[in-house]
Symmetry: C2
Subunit: 208 residues, 2 copies
DNA sequence: CGCGACCAAACGAACGATCGTTCGTTTGTG
DNA sequence: CACAAACGAACGATCGTTCGTTTGGTCGCG
């Protein structure tokens, strides 16, 4: 699964040694649940069955963990853009692929996605700026697809690309808040319902 | 403006005495910016030009400030529901009023709204439960309006009220993240663009 | 096969800093 | 003079982090 699993013994058993990956994953879990400032190194140690001081065998400090977790989240979302912009069909299809990909990332990596979205402001300034730039690029991918779809005549006339990108991402990002793995809805169903809302709105055809 | 302004001297001047309202407002500002756990009582004191310990002349503790700020946010949003559900026109109009009212609250009370949305999880358990219940009721107001609009035939057929309420609130709540008072868009314009998105989606009429 | 050397991982005490909070004192205004 | 507001030192707790020590598994070598 991960590149460092070679070093990992049985994993989970008492006395089992933890890898850096385990530490980062647990950090993502706690940062997502309690927030960065609401999580102490001792909390994190307890989550992993060790002392807080023991974490320093794996990472240099708490900030490094935040950088690492958010960096992973950013990579996941970046991957979606890369995938969606490869094929060259109608721009509307690209937009739909972006939406489905986003839902997939949130469902599969909810802790990293949550930390990415909610805790980025606590990053060291240099890292924060990188993440802000990355988020701008992500939004730009949506704007670009919207503008092209507009030129192709697929969208309602006079639509504002910037604002529309924000609205679509609003629906997508909120998934982080309400999605529960225990829910009965499958990820694909969620993406489908979201796309139906984004594409057609809620009003009946003969009333608008 | 507020009910306790009677006690407030010139306000702002050096040596001016602060009211409890000033303290709660400043707390809202800092909690919204840096998060509850990212704000210390000494930070808050500095924001008001006094020592952290001096705050205890106005409030009992830090938690009380969080409860107070979030309580105010909750009241603002509750007021919107009260207003929107008073008139008895078409359910779609009620829905539109809810949307416009929500935008208005976020624009006018962004710090309280931000704290309400992002920091509620750090409330003392008893208060947290109240806020959760209040949020459920808020969502229920949307669901109810959607269901009635559906019965009135105003919405696309087979729409899921629960999911639709979530989507609409997703667009609305995200305003908290991107709205800047310095932006050129007027609140009414924002609400109008949001409603256009929610009502009609993005696809051109002849492509869906 | 057994055994000692090695080494990463975890421990646990301790550091200075900062946290929320308390309380006796000072200040300034009505 | 009275009283609310702010001060400022101090409290115990907890924070992130350091560091010398202990542990337990792996590997080379006889």
């Amino acid at each position: 699964m991960s590149s460092t699993d070679v070093d990992a013994p049985v994993a989970g058993g008492p006395g089992a040694t933890r890898t850096r990956d385990d530490v980062v994953a647990a950090a993502g879990r706690l940062f997502a649940q309690r927030g960065f400032h609401g999580t102490s190194m001792r909390d994190l140690g307890e989550e992993l069955g060790m002392l807080g001081s023991s974490l320093y065998s794996h990472v240099q400090g708490k900030n490094e963990l935040l950088v690492e977790v958010i960096g992973r989240g950013a990579e996941f979302f970046n991957g979606v853009v890369t995938d969606a912009t490869m094929a060259d069909g109608p721009a509307v299809d690209e937009l739909r692929h972006l939406v489905y990909g986003h839902v997939h990332v949130v469902v599969e990596h909810i802790d990293e996605a949550r930390t990415f979205l909610f805790e980025s402001r606590f990053l060291p300034e240099a890292d924060r700026l990188k993440i802000v730039a990355m988020r701008d690029a992500y939004e730009e991918a949506y704007r670009s697809a919207i503008e092209r779809a507009e030129e192709e005549g697929s969208l309602v006339q006079g639509i504002d690309a910037r604002m529309t990108a924000i609205f679509i991402l609003s629906v997508l990002n909120a998934l982080i808040r309400w999605y529960r793995p225990s829910g009965k809805r499958q990820p694909a169903d969620i993406a489908e319902e979201m796309w139906a809302f984004i594409a057609g709105g809620i009003l009946a055809g003969d009333t608008r």
